[in-house]
Structures are given as structure tokens and as C-alpha cells.
């Protein structure tokens, strides 16, 4: 892993183990099985960079994101954010970190409070952190709404009045409102229709180009990450099998699993051959 001094986030041999009841029966706890969800993963993320973590179900990509967000405990290893060890965060650290690390979840139907108006949803982080006057908060809300292309008139709407794509814009606006240094986006487009998905990807690509926020973009779909990322990490069974620049990973994958993953996406063109490569280790 590169030892960039300018890196915002450094995840160093981080591991997450879960214990689950063994096959012997749910009551025989002593026979528990150990499950390594994230197996000594190291990644770093530079300021303003978008790193995509791609993997199939069970690869540990979501657990990795949750550990960075502080939503899941780390079994071993260290997470450094902005020069600070945040592996086991203290309560006072936690509060500060929520200003600097934000999240966008997969399902905008589940992640937004249905009883709040859009402006209240987006403003809530400012209220919680007591940032600015009422007027300044309102201005900031309109500013981020503009940034994510949400019309101002929608500020008084309720979430149910918005389509999935617009709701996901609200989630992104809420994540941006505190000017965080890092956004962890876990499958932010997989619940959306393809044409809406294209628009949200476009928004992520724009955030990458025009802002200094770093983004950890978690996805099961290699197909969608090309346009939004600087670098890509491919995960499988809790390990990172390959990391590299977008072009390198897509055009000259070095790991057999990456090639298999790429070849498994059916090309949306009947003239292109579809020859999935199988991979087993």
C-alpha cells in the first residue's frame, strides 16, 4: 500500500471476526464458528480521491465501510483518519468524527425520515452540531440542494413526494451539508433504475471533479464504478485481491478474480461476445 503522507484515511491490516453458532445446534455456544468478514485489509485514501471498493455479497465490503464509519467494532488493526487513530473512538471523538465522516446508504426509501420536510432532513446535521445561525443554516441547506441539483421549491416537500433518484440526492445533500472530509457511500445507486442511476453516478463524478471531499464508494457492480472513481479495490472473501487505478484494474487486471468479475458482466451489445471466465481458488 502506498505510504502517501497526504492520505486522509489509512486502514492498516484491519480485521473483523464474527462468531456464529456452529452446526451442532444453536444452544451449543462452545462450538461456535469463527467467520472472518474482513481479513487484514489495508487501504488508503487521499484527500479529494474517490476509491471504489467492489466485491460480491459476503466479500466484506460493507463491514469495511461500517468499521470506517464507527458503526462496527474493529477486531484488530488500526484506522487512521486525518492523522488521528480512530480505531476505538472515544465518545467525544465520535461527535467530532460525525462532522468529518458522513454516509450515504443504499435505499433512499429507508434512510430518510418520512415525517420531516426535505429542508429539515438536510438541516438536521447543522442543528445537531449547532453550526451557524438559523439564517446561515437555511442558506447552507439551499446551497447543498443546489449542489446536488435539487430544486429549491422541493425544500418544503416530504420524502414521499420525491422519486427514488431525488431522494438519493437528498441523502447526498445531507451527507455534504457539514462539509465532511470523507463520505462513505454504500451501494448508493443499486436501488435505482438505470436512467436515474446514471444521473446519480454523474453527481458522484461531479463531486470527484469539483470538490475536495474524499469518497469511499462501495458497490457490488464493477460496471458502475468506472465513471466515478480514481482507484478501485476488488474484495473477495474478506480480502483485497487487487487495487489499482481505474484504467489499470479495468484494462489490465492482474488478478484472476478481477478478470472473472469483469467477464461476468453481460455486455449491453449483442455484437460483443459474452464469455464469462470462471475463477476458483
Amino acid at each position: 500500500m502506498s505510504e502517501e503522507s497526504g492520505s486522509l484515511l489509512r486502514v492498516d491490516v484491519v480485521r473483523k471476526e464474527y462468531y456464529r453458532p456452529g452446526n451442532a445446534g444453536a444452544l451449543r455456544w462452545r462450538k461456535n464458528e469463527r467467520l472472518v468478514a474482513v481479513d487484514d485489509v489495508s487501504i488508503s485514501l487521499a484527500r479529494g480521491e474517490t476509491l471504489s471498493v467492489v466485491g460480491e455479497s459476503g466479500s466484506g465490503k460493507t463491514t469495511l465501510g461500517r468499521m470506517i464509519l464507527g458503526l462496527t467494532d474493529v477486531t484488530s488493526g488500526t484506522i487512521e483518519f486525518d492523522g488521528l487513530d480512530i480505531t476505538r473512538r472515544l465518545p467525544q471523538q465520535r461527535r467530532q468524527l460525525t462532522r468529518e465522516i458522513q454516509v450515504v446508504f443504499q435505499d433512499p426509501y429507508a434512510s430518510i425520515d418520512p415525517r420531516q420536510r426535505i429542508e429539515d432532513v438536510i438541516r438536521e446535521p447543522l442543528d445537531i452540531h449547532r453550526i451557524g445561525t438559523r439564517k446561515q443554516r437555511r442558506e447552507r441547506v439551499l446551497e447543498v440542494m443546489h449542489q446536488v441539483a435539487l430544486p429549491e421549491r422541493m425544500s418544503r416537500f416530504f420524502p414521499h413526494q420525491l422519486s427514488g433518484g431525488l431522494r438519493q440526492r437528498v441523502s447526498i445533500a445531507t451527507a455534504l451539508v457539514l462539509r465532511p472530509k470523507l463520505i462513505v457511500a454504500d451501494e448508493p445507486v443499486s436501488a435505482l433504475d438505470v436512467s436515474v442511476q446514471a444521473q446519480i453516478l454523474e453527481l458522484f463524478a461531479e463531486l470527484r471533479r469539483t470538490t475536495s471531499v474524499s469518497i469511499l464508494f462501495i458497490s457490488h457492480d464493477l460496471g458502475v464504478v468506472r465513471e466515478v472513481s480514481d482507484r478501485v479495490a476488488v474484495m473477495r472473501h474478506g480480502r483485497i485481491v487487487e487495487t489499482g487505478s481505474v484504467n489499470q484494474v479495468f484494462d489490465q487486471p492482474t488478478h484472476g478474480y478481477t478478470s472473472a468479475l469483469l467477464s461476468a458482466i453481460p455486455p449491453a451489445d449483442p455484437r460483443l461476445p459474452f464469455q464469462p471466465i470462471s475463477y476458483s481458488d
Binding site: A149, L166, S195, E227, P276
Partner: protein, 287 residues
């Protein structure tokens, strides 16, 4: 007429809905053909699949006709449909976890299906079931007969569902998003399996999906749907390379590409579905 399936002016409305779920849909399907139905959520593609199976819910009203090999499906009674189901007309659903009964082993479910339709003894049905599990690529099929669906992965469950859909060599299979719940590598394997089995048995298939890649690779013809209407029907090559309808073109443009970076995110990608946003760009000059 040698069309296996003839759909004419089919319209379906659900009680209480403002607009029909599907309106004035017509198409034909020849024997041995795989036709794709593509559309985004709310396009009516799933309702179309249900109508073809005679499985529309009670609160749906319909017009038009769906003829399967000369038999009218629409409005037919259960009694009339029963001889067709399984042996003639069958379905692969999206979520295998809900299609299989959690209280019975997968083996007993396949055996029950085979014995219901074919005149087999228990032993014969069992060995045929094992044979099918083997054909759909399930390792140690004998052992798996006693497994329950929660003990199998999504991909394995979907293979069981496919085995059950194809075990009676139906002449027409309606597959509604058969691989959407699967990981991409598993999807690739399952698609290969479906093609092999469908082609091997000479069955026809209506493949409903939102995934243009799956359509491009699996189908010979495509029906493009939006808001319950058929916008375009054509050969797969024509649809993908010379789409006549602007929406088809928009859909193709929205497809993220991983094969080349030469396709920049174009500003022309305004969605008709997301009117508010496109209106915004005019109001604010903000993209």
C-alpha cells in the same frame, strides 16, 4: 398460425390505480424463440409476465387477448389453466427464497412436482429429481435433496427453481428477473444454464428484466416498455444499434460502461422519468 404465443391489445388496470398498468400491448412469439421485455420500474413488465401466466391478481381488470397455442389464457379459469401449468407453461421468479417452501426439503418439492404431473413412482421421481439437480449444476445432488432452502445460497436456490421450472419440458417459460438477485459471477453461470436448457429442449421464453446486458446476450427479439406501453419491438441487433424510439436510446445511453472509458458521462442524459431534475437545469443552468 404457428405462433406459440399471440398477445393482442392487452390492457391491464389495477383497481384504484389512476392509469392502466399496461395498455394496448401486442406481440407474437414463435416456438423456440427467446424474447426480452425490458423496462424500468413501473413500466408494467412484471404485470405483462403475470398476464401471460394467467396469474393476474383479483383486483386487476383486463382487456384484449393472450393466446397460448390457440388457448385463451386471459380470463381462463383455474380449471382450464391447470393442465397447461407446469407441462406447457411455466415460470422462473426473481426471488428463489420466496418461491421455495421453507418447511420442505428441496428434494421433496421437486418430487411432488414430478409426481403431480407425471405418472411416476416415488423412486422414479426421486431419481429424476436427482438427475435434474445434477443438470442444473448442483454438486452432490443426492445429498442436496435433503437440504432446505435456507441451507443453500441464493445461486443454488435459483438453480433449484430453474430445475423445477424446466423439469416438465414446458413449451413456454416466463422468467421475471431470473438473475437479478444473484451476484454477477453466479448470474453469468445461471444465464449460461438457462440458455443451454432452453435451447436443448426447444422451449420458448419471455425474459423480463431491467438489465440491458442480459437482454443483449440472451434474446433474439426485444420489447421495450415504458409506463405500460410498448415503445418498440425489434430484433436485438436493431434495438441496440439502431433504436427507433428516443427512450430506447436514452436507456442505452444510461447503461454504465466498463469496457471503455471513452464514453464520458454525457450531459444529454436527461431522464424523462426524473422531470423535476431536468426542469431544474433549465431553471438554474446547473448540471
Amino acid at each position: 398460425m404457428n405462433d406459440l404465443l399471440a398477445v393482442q391489445n392487452l390492457s391491464v388496470s389495477y383497481a384504484g390505480a389512476l392509469s392502466p398498468s399496461i395498455a394496448d400491448v401486442s406481440f407474437n412469439l414463435e416456438a423456440g424463440e427467446i424474447i426480452g421485455v425490458v423496462g424500468e420500474s413501473g413500466s408494467g413488465k412484471t404485470t405483462l409476465g403475470l398476464a401471460l401466466l394467467g396469474l393476474l391478481p383479483w383486483n386487476a381488470s383486463f382487456k384484449g387477448s393472450v393466446q397460448f397455442d390457440g388457448t385463451e389464457i386471459l380470463g381462463a379459469s383455474e380449471r382450464q389453466l391447470r393442465p397447461l401449468r407446469g407441462t406447457q407453461l411455466s415460470t422462473i421468479v426473481q426471488n428463489p427464497a420466496t418461491a421455495l417452501n421453507p418447511s420442505f426439503s428441496i428434494g421433496s418439492q421437486i418430487v411432488a412436482l414430478l409426481r403431480r404431473h407425471l405418472n411416476l413412482t416415488k423412486t422414479e421421481a426421486r431419481s429424476l429429481a436427482i438427475d435434474w439437480l445434477d443438470r442444473v449444476g448442483i454438486s452432490e445432488p443426492k445429498k442436496r435433496m435433503n437440504s432446505y432452502s435456507h441451507q443453500l445460497s441464493g445461486g443454488m436456490n435459483q438453480r433449484v427453481v430453474i430445475a423445477m421450472a424446466l423439469a416438465l419440458s414446458p413449451r413456454l417459460v416466463i422468467a421475471d428477473e431470473p438473475t437479478s438477485a444473484l451476484d454477477v459471477t453466479v448470474q453469468a453461470a445461471v444465464l449460461g444454464l438457462i440458455t443451454e436448457l432452453i435451447e436443448g429442449s426447444g422451449s420458448s421464453m419471455v425474459l423480463v428484466t431491467h438489465d440491458l446486458g442480459v437482454i443483449a446476450q440472451m434474446c433474439s427479439r426485444v420489447i421495450v416498455m415504458k409506463d405500460g406501453r410498448v415503445l418498440e419491438v425489434g430484433e436485438v441487433d436493431q434495438i441496440f444499434h439502431a433504436p427507433r424510439n428516443p427512450y430506447t436510446k436514452h436507456l442505452l445511453d444510461s447503461q454504465p460502461s466498463h469496457t471503455s472509458q471513452s464514453k464520458p458521462i454525457s450531459k444529454s442524459r436527461h431522464s424523462e422519468a426524473d422531470v423535476a431534475t431536468s426542469r431544474l437545469s433549465e431553471e438554474y443552468g446547473h448540471e
